[in-house]
Symmetry: C2
Subunit: 215 residues, 2 copies
DNA sequence: TAGATTGTTAATCGATTAACAATC
DNA sequence: TAGATTGTTAATCGATTAACAATC
């Protein structure tokens, strides 16, 4: 394994995009890519790209570029795309169902082992081959299946109780789609928040800004 | 209106979170908040908070703090939460349906005026009071309804064609949930991408990192 | 008045860009 | 060899943190 020194958070934020692009190149049968080609695709600079890769190894070839397969492999291993941590999803509404499908895609870091909902009408339904279970059975299931991660797709009002119960089961990492800040309550958890409303406001801001500069 | 000078992108990224928190405080009937209280909630510093607000006005009071209502109002106006740009959503699958509900929430910047899908089984269905239409009618609808923004929830393979058609209708802002980079193709569009897979990999990386430091 | 907290300037830190020798 | 492109150092830029006078 290469050097793997202090990968900064801004580099980490870019890694999934590099990974996606390298996968594409691989599918197209392209074996080598230069920093300037990658930069163009990433809306970045060749300098940035080389600097990014510099912190986790040297596998470029002067005059030729980077091996797509090698680079993809390295990023894959840094991100842990092959990990398959056992995860449960709580809340089988529209967003929950969409995420359940997402997690079952080709490039996944998690293995979805259980889906829970408290709605009687949903319990017993099947998503991606997994039967939706009653939220009442959450604790016993998590204990017996060594679940490490929870995907939270329940409404805001339900998150506090659900996250408490999951924390009590020993779950310390959360992919949170709800507007409740789990990390505020526990100091030893990893929380990745997806706040779609924030993204929407961001877009709105940029549209406004554009219109103001036009005037 | 206050000064409104060069709001940096890192500040903009934080504004929706400030906004959400201020809404909460308002609901709780709290009239004033200090930079250190906000910082605690934002996992930031009091200095950062004051610096953030500094670029768009002065409405704190020494010894007292910031007026929650005033600050919320200012951020609301900067982000354009009250804008209601007419938007169409294309792709009424799980993610599309979830987003349609999201956009129809209280704090919205867009007015969802049409939902489209090419699946005969879905056309005619109703989401949030809006009847799902045939994608074939996209052009005529966008023209007659002065649509400015499109929400893209179709599979990757369909994005290129759909975005071309929308661009031809004059639509220049996109909220994109698909793994296809619309901004690569057009230079004069505003694209806000939501890449759930990237967020998942980010979480996975942080779990791995945690485990490596433990060892 | 004394305590709290802002607005703002200066200092520090980190991230991006530029430059260029090394080398395929 | 000549052209292309890396790895790395130095320079620049921007964002965060610290400090403190002003003032409610």
């Amino acid at each position: 394994m290469a050097k793997r020194e202090n990968i900064s958070s801004s580099v980490v934020r870019r890694l999934p995009r590099y990974y996606r692009f390298l996968r594409e190149l691989e599918k197209q049968g392209i074996s080598h890519v230069s920093s300037s080609q990658l930069a163009k695709r990433m809306s970045s600079t060749a300098s940035q790209v080389r600097q990014d890769f510099n912190c986790f190894g040297e596998f470029g070839q002067q005059g030729i570029g980077y091996s797509v397969a090698h680079l993809r492999d390295e990023i894959e291993s840094i991100l842990g795309v092959k990990c398959r941590y056992p995860a449960v999803l709580v809340g089988a509404g529209n967003i929950g169902t969409a995420i359940a499908n997402q997690v079952s895609l080709e490039d996944r870091c998690f293995e979805l082992v259980g889906i829970f909902d408290k709605d009687r009408a949903k319990i017993g339904g099947v998503i991606q081959g997994i039967t939706i279970m009653d939220t009442d059975d959450l604790e016993s299931f998590c204990d017996s299946h060594l679940v490490t991660t929870a995907i939270i797709c329940v409404p805001k009002r339900a998150v506090e109780e659900i996250s408490e119960r999951l924390y009590a089961c020993g779950i310390r990492s959360f992919w949170n789609f709800s507007h409740f800040d789990i990390s505020m309550k526990y100091s030893d958890v990893i929380v990745e928040n997806v706040h779609l409303g924030d993204s929407m406001m961001q877009l709105c801001f940029r549209i406004n800004q554009e219109q103001n500069t036009k005037k």
